[in-house]
């Protein structure tokens, strides 16, 4: 019973993440890749993403602090970050990246800073949600049965 509940919880949480626009189709692709050879594939990927992207974020932070702002550089870094975020299906984060890059092109420093803050918020929120999700998933037992899409 508990197991079933746990699994339901996990499924529900996953569904809400999709419904609220935090994740997109790519996340499902990742889950499809998970198998016996890599039973925790999705979690590994997400962990790798957060680890690697944190350096891009600090890079962006530094570049934004400089004066005058190097928009080309910002654009380049953000481009990288966006590509990375697309790998796990971080939908809201990606949207903020796109907005940020538009501000860059418009040479709007204030706009960049604002959207950067917003992006960081989304980034942190998603991280927490995914941590909870993986925790629940581990508790619920083998993911395959509950989550593997047919």
């Amino acid at each position: 019973m508990d197991k079933i509940n746990s699994r339901r919880q996990v499924a529900a949480m996953k569904q809400s993440l999709f419904d609220q626009g935090y994740l997109d189709e790519q996340f499902i692709q990742l889950e499809e890749l998970q198998d016996d050879a890599n039973p925790n594939f999705v979690e590994e990927i997400v962990t790798l993403y957060y680890r690697d992207s944190s350096r891009l974020i600090s890079n962006l932070d530094h570049t934004l602090e400089r004066n005058p702002v190097d928009f080309n550089k910002l654009d380049t870094i953000m481009h990288q970050f966006k590509g990375s975020s697309s790998s796990i299906g971080a939908k809201k984060v990606k949207a903020e990246c796109t907005l940020f890059m538009e501000y860059c092109r418009a040479r709007n420093g204030e706009g960049c800073r604002r959207s950067f803050q917003q992006m960081k918020k989304e980034y942190a929120t998603l991280r927490k949600k995914l941590e909870t999700y993986f925790h629940l998933a581990r508790q619920a037992g083998p993911v395959e049965t509950a989550f593997r899409p047919k």
């Binding site: 499809e32 890749l33 993403y49 690697d52 481009h79 697309s86 299906g89």
Partner: protein
């Protein structure tokens, strides 16, 4: 089409397809690896472009297809793409999160057989085998055509121009616009070499090729002539024909890019990617025929060399354009751009046959860590060996230093430059000719030297101007555009690092170098040419340099290969440049 053409024929093709994935993003690399494994492909991952190139060069027939990201720090994906296409002739798929039409177009222009948008779906990867298959079929067809031509020809003197032509079309799968293809067809194909084994155009081989092309004259070149000149027994006309075709495409692409870039800082060597280098190969004389020299760009009006559009602007251009000269202007960076022009090469050749002093002694260049793959693509670089990387760097430095000035400072500049140049200079064996070529650029400066000579310090960084751009750029991984755009492209990048050397210095140095040279444009051309060559060599070697730009369209070739030669410069310097 039988699958036997694959180096490791698999019965259940496409299973076991050997894929090389290149992406600086570790997350994507892991995902792609998993996806490809799920498709039952054999996957090798790589996060650095130059490492990927060395892997490919190490195992010539070790991979069936390459998938690469467009934006990578150490080398522009497009440059990698060109290299792979030229050297290994493997199908390459590009990937990016950016799906802008212009980018996709650029990918196709550079030879990508597909362009995927991230996030990538599994099903897209499942089908990549078609590109491998298609290529095999195509090669087989070409082969067959040649075979039949050969049979036809036996016994009769070439009478079938028409047939040949037709065959050529088949083989090259592209329209051959050059008339020269006709007259070269007379050659008999050697049936024994028509085996499917893919010809790997090693650095040496390519150099021979470029040399031959240069000797014949780019306008008059044709597969048969080239083949005869190259004197490589196992090589067939067909091999040369298809290589020539690629080379032409490459050159035209570079030119286009150069043209586009001309507006920005003159020296866009970016286009010098290997193709250009090919022209550089002309080392001797062919350059004259090259019109690519973007020399037009250069304005000397006030004696300052402006690197404007040094971009090699198309080889077609009149070599005199040694455009590079102009670029050299003031910043001394200029050289970089122009040298790339093949035109320059010719002029460069002028006499500099000195061998560049081995840069190794310079020791400034640490940069080379990139291993120059032996087969390098279009660059003339004769022998860049991996080890030479260091050398090449050194060369660059040397050349720079040597160039006009013997000052120690040069070293500094070189260092940075060498980095960029390193890529170019990686060609270890800068032949004398090349060296000469490199030295030639000096003449360009020479003109300007008058004005600057006095100020020129021994920095002799003239070489620096060589903006190794093409090569160096790539190395940096900075977008090549950067490099190409800055006339000194490399220079700027490099120079920035060089704090010790100011543009002025460099410029001066160049001038010094030029002094010896004599102001003739031809010389300039040579100079540029050298640069280009240097770049070619450099590209490979420089990888470390971080010239990400490398490929910036053609930058690589732009990089004055001469830089390597710069080692020779020093020699030449004394002889030529010393006023």
């Amino acid at each position: 089409m039988d699958n036997g053409c694959f180096s490791s024929p698999k019965r259940d093709f496409p299973a076991g397809l050997r894929v090389l994935v290149v992406d600086d993003d570790p997350t994507w690399l892991k995902i792609l690896e998993k996806m490809l494994k799920k498709c039952n492909y054999e996957v090798t991952t790589c996060c650095l472009a130059r490492h990927a190139l060395s892997l490919l060069r190490e195992r010539k027939d070790g991979y069936d297809i390459v998938i690469s990201d467009v934006n990578m720090p150490d080398m522009d994906g497009f440059k990698l793409l060109e290299h792979v296409g030229l050297e290994m002739d493997l199908p390459v798929i590009m990937m990016s999160v950016d799906g802008e039409t212009s980018k996709v177009m650029k990918g196709v222009q550079h030879g990508a057989c597909d362009y995927l948008l991230k996030p990538i779906r599994m099903k897209e990867l499942r089908n990549i085998w078609q590109h491998v298959f298609r290529k095999k079929i195509h090669e087989a067809k070409e082969f067959e055509s040649f075979e039949s031509i050969h049979l036809m020809r036996n016994g009769s003197e070439l009478s079938d121009d028409g047939n040949l032509f037709a065959v050529e079309d088949v083989t090259s799968s592209k329209k051959r616009k050059d008339a020269d293809s006709k007259h070269d067809d007379k050659e008999c194909l050697d049936p024994s070499s028509t085996k499917k084994a893919r010809v790997v155009w090693s650095v040496d081989l390519h150099q021979k090729f470029v040399k031959a092309v240069n000797q014949i004259g780019f306008d008059k070149v044709g597969p048969k002539k080239i083949l005869d000149l190259m004197n490589v027994p196992w090589l067939t006309r067909e091999n040369v024909a298809s290589h020539l075709q690629k080379y032409r495409l490459y050159l035209s692409r570079i030119q286009k890019e150069n043209d586009q870039r001309s507006s920005s800082s003159g020296m866009k060597h970016s286009d010098f990617p290997s193709k250009d280098m090919g022209s550089f190969g002309f080392q001797n004389s062919v350059i004259k025929q090259q019109n690519d020299v973007a020399i037009d760009n250069y304005n000397h009006s006030d004696g300052s060399l402006q690197l404007q559009n040094v971009e090699t602007k198309s080889h077609e251009a009149d070599p005199k354009g040694i455009v590079s000269q102009s670029t050299i202007a003031k910043k001394g960076r200029i050289l970089t751009g122009n040298i790339a022009d093949t035109n320059m090469r010719e002029s460069l050749r002028v006499g500099l046959n000195q061998t560049f002093p081995p840069l190794e002694s310079e020791g400034n260049h640490a940069v080379f860590d990139c291993s120059m793959p032996t087969p390098y693509s279009w660059t003339e670089v004769p022998h860049m060996q991996l080890k030479e990387e260091h050398k090449s760097l050194v060369y660059l430095e040397d050349s720079f230093n040597q160039l006009p000035l013997h000052g120690k400072q040069q070293q500094h500049i070189h260092v940075d430059q060498s980095q960029s140049v390193a890529s170019i200079s990686s060609a270890p064996s800068i032949t004398e000719e090349e060296a000469a070529a490199c030295i030639e650029p000096k003449p360009l400066f020479a003109d300007y030297n008058n004005d600057y000579a006095s100020s020129v310090s021994s920095t002799g960084n003239a070489v620096a101007t060589f903006p190794i751009q093409p090569g160096s750029l790539i190395m940096n991984g900075q977008s090549s555009e950067r490099i190409s755009t800055t006339t000194s492209g490399l220079k700027t990048q490099e120079y920035n690092n060089l704090s010790s050397i100011s543009d002025q210095e460099i410029y001066q140095r160049n001038l010094l170098g030029c002094e010896a040279a004599s102001a003739s444009l031809d010389e300039d051309l040579h100079f540029y040419w050298l640069e280009g060559e240097c770049y070619n060599n450099m590209n490979f070697g420089l990888q470390n340099i971080g010239m990400s730009e490398y490929y910036d369209p053609g930058l690589i070739s732009e990089a004055p290969i001469h830089l390597y030669d710069s080692a020779d410069y020093s020699v030449m310097d004394q002889g030529l440049f010393i006023a």
